[in-house]
């Protein structure tokens, strides 16, 4: 076993997801299958190989530190499930 159901529950919490018991069981079995397949990478000698993080050789893209036009606030808030005044509203965080 690569991953057990209590680990799946832990990872779900990290990912801000929640599952029923049946879903957890199914994910545990499927993730195990996929992670076992990944084991083949251990056959590759990667000693001294620098990890590739970008598909192209490019340096950081800086631009001039100059204020540019932003989207109007009303348009930015227009998609919010709950907005009031100039703010996004969310359920309470602390008692």
């Amino acid at each position: 076993m690569k991953i057990k159901s209590d680990e799946v529950t832990h990872v779900a919490n990290l990912a801000r997801l929640e599952f029923t018991e049946a879903e957890t069981e199914k994910f545990t079995s499927q993730l195990n299958g996929i992670l076992l397949y990944m084991d083949m990478l251990n056959r590759v000698d990667t000693e001294g190989v620098a990890p590739m993080t970008h598909a192209i050789a490019q340096k950081n893209a800086f631009r001039e530190d100059r204020a540019m036009e932003s989207l109007p606030r009303e348009e930015t808030l227009a998609n919010a499930p709950d907005a009031r005044g100039d703010f996004f509203r969310v359920p309470k965080v602390i008692d």
Binding site: V11, L17, Y37, V44, T46, A55, A61, P91
Partner: protein, 485 residues
């Protein structure tokens, strides 16, 4: 032949000669949609009224002699490209009501070139899938056989072009999501070099792999669309500031004296016999054009899928953290406090494949596993890239099948994620290496399903792909069929 079945360049000739109008073309496309869309379901949203208004404007422009690259041509957009004022859902419940306040750069460029937008095409949810079966809005069917999948994730775009429900379409390709459905639907699909086309306004899946590209009926149309969408964009920090050639110039240049690499690793056991036969025939055609085909080796090919299914879900789990029910999209009414609201919104908002990948990505990035999975995969990715660098010292382009099989049946692979992932086995390496690829039709199975093969080239060498694909298409000259819908 109906206007909706023609290519961009054929329609442009007719528009220039005054033989037709954009309004006629757009009406023809919507008549076709009215008759076949109930079977195919290529679209999530149709924008008929806006399209007819845009067509009327295009006709005014044409009357004044102002014809641009795409004036009056109906184009469909995959529903992960932001369109100002028009819902952009990513085929997900979590974005089902999202109305972007801005246009993606690609959309802006197409609009500026005179394109008319027909609507937003169906796709796998968040582009995660190979069959367009994971969309929250229902499946898309392959126009060549309605019992089969169109491929994915850009299945709606591919099906719409094949079915005559638009003239050309835009999709995105993270592991094959343009080339695989193009092959399965019998159209041309190109994944440009990473950084060639701006992704500003593309809903992100895996940021080191995603790239936007065209679906068209022939190679010349592919060149026409690439001329419009390629190029540097200061709004997109991974966009490459490189010159964009006039791709159309390359369509008829020929490939006399070229060397084409055939990687042995892509002609493996398990590949469908009819696919193999069609691709071997295509190799003969390419040789007949004066190219020398040589066997090459890409030794790390067998590891591509494992690398991809670590890197892509890892990046996705991070990109999709933004969907929390606060700023846009779906919010569960059940969450009593903030954390609870996040979890309930995300759990009800994402479909099962998206959740599976978020889980996989979160796991491989989590403390204690990062080195074993993500770092290891990134190292093997470097070796995969090195394989291509070495191969391109020996050949101009590489030729491989696009998919191991023709379109499979609806529901055939939905219960086994690994089997589904294996349908991208020939397309994933391109994204990992960041190079461009083009899938071109090369015939049909005896059962009438399209088969495609692909050419791959070095970074920024899309012109070479247009050149060889154009030469192949002209001389292959296999029967030009249209789906019988």
């Amino acid at each position: 032949m109906d206007l909706n079945q023609l290519t961009i360049h054929e329609l442009q000739e007719k528009l220039k000669a005054g033989e037709t109008t954009s309004t006629d073309i757009v009406q023809s496309v919507f008549r076709r949609i009215d008759s076949v869309e109930k079977d195919v379901h290529a679209y999530i949203l149709l924008t008929r009224d806006a399209a007819l208004a845009e067509a009327a404007r295009a006709d005014e422009e044409i009357k004044k002699g102002r014809i641009q690259a795409l004036t009056g041509i109906p184009i469909a957009l995959k529903d992960l490209l932001c369109t100002r004022g028009v819902t952009t859902t990513c085929a997900s419940r979590i974005l089902h009501n999202y109305v972007p306040p801005y246009d993606a750069t690609v959309v802006e460029k197409l609009r500026a070139a005179g394109a008319v937008f027909t609507g937003k095409t169906n796709m796998d949810e968040f582009a995660m899938g190979s069959s367009t079966e994971t969309s929250w809005f229902g499946i898309t069917r392959n126009p060549w056989d309605l019992e089969r999948i169109p491929g994915g994730s850009s299945g709606g775009s591919a099906a719409a072009v094949a079915a005559g429900e638009c003239i050309a379409a835009i999709g995105s390709d993270t592991g094959g999501s343009i080339r695989q459905p193009a092959a399965l639907c019998g159209v041309v699909g190109m994944k440009p070099t990473y950084g060639r086309v701006s992704r500003y306004g593309l809903v992100a899946f895996a940021s080191s792999l995603d790239q936007i590209g065209p679906f068209t009926r022939d190679v010349e149309d592919c060149a026409i669309l690439m001329n419009v969408i390629a190029g540097y964009d200061p709004k997109e920090s991974t966009s490459v500031p490189a010159e964009v050639p006039d791709y159309r110039q390359y369509v008829s240049r020929g490939i006399d004296g070229w060397t084409v690499g055939i990687p042995g690793e892509y002609f493996i056991e398990g590949i469908d016999a009819e696919v193999l036969e069609a691709v071997r025939k295509a190799i003969k055609v390419v040789e007949g054009l004066g190219a020398k085909c040589v066997e090459i080796s890409l030794p790390h090919t067998e590891y591509c899928l494992a690398v991809y299914y670590i890197v892509a879900p890892a990046e996705a789990s991070s990109n999709l953290a933004r969907y929390d029910g606060v700023k846009y999209g779906f919010r569960s009414p059940e969450g009593r406090e903030l954390l609870d609201m996040y979890k309930k919104s995300r759990s009800a908002g994402f479909g099962v494949e998206v959740k599976r990948r978020i889980m996989l990505g979160t796991y491989v990035l989590s403390s204690g596993y990062y080195d074993a999975y993500y770092k290891k995969a990134s190292q093997v990715r470097a070796l995969i890239k090195r394989d291509f660098d070495e191969a391109f010292r020996r050949c101009d382009v590489i030729l491989t099948p696009t998919t191991p099989t023709p379109a499979f049946r609806i529901g055939e692979k939905t219960e086994d994620p690994l089997q589904m992932y294996l349908s991208d086995i020939f397309t994933i390496s391109t994204n990992l290496a960041g190079i461009p690829g083009i899938s071109v039709p090369c015939g049909f199975t005896r059962g009438g399903l399209p088969i495609g093969f692909q050419f791959l080239a070095g970074h920024m060498e899309e012109a070479k792909l247009i050149q060889i694909a154009g030469a192949y298409e002209k001389s292959a000259n296999f029967e030009k069929r249209r789906p019988n819908l």
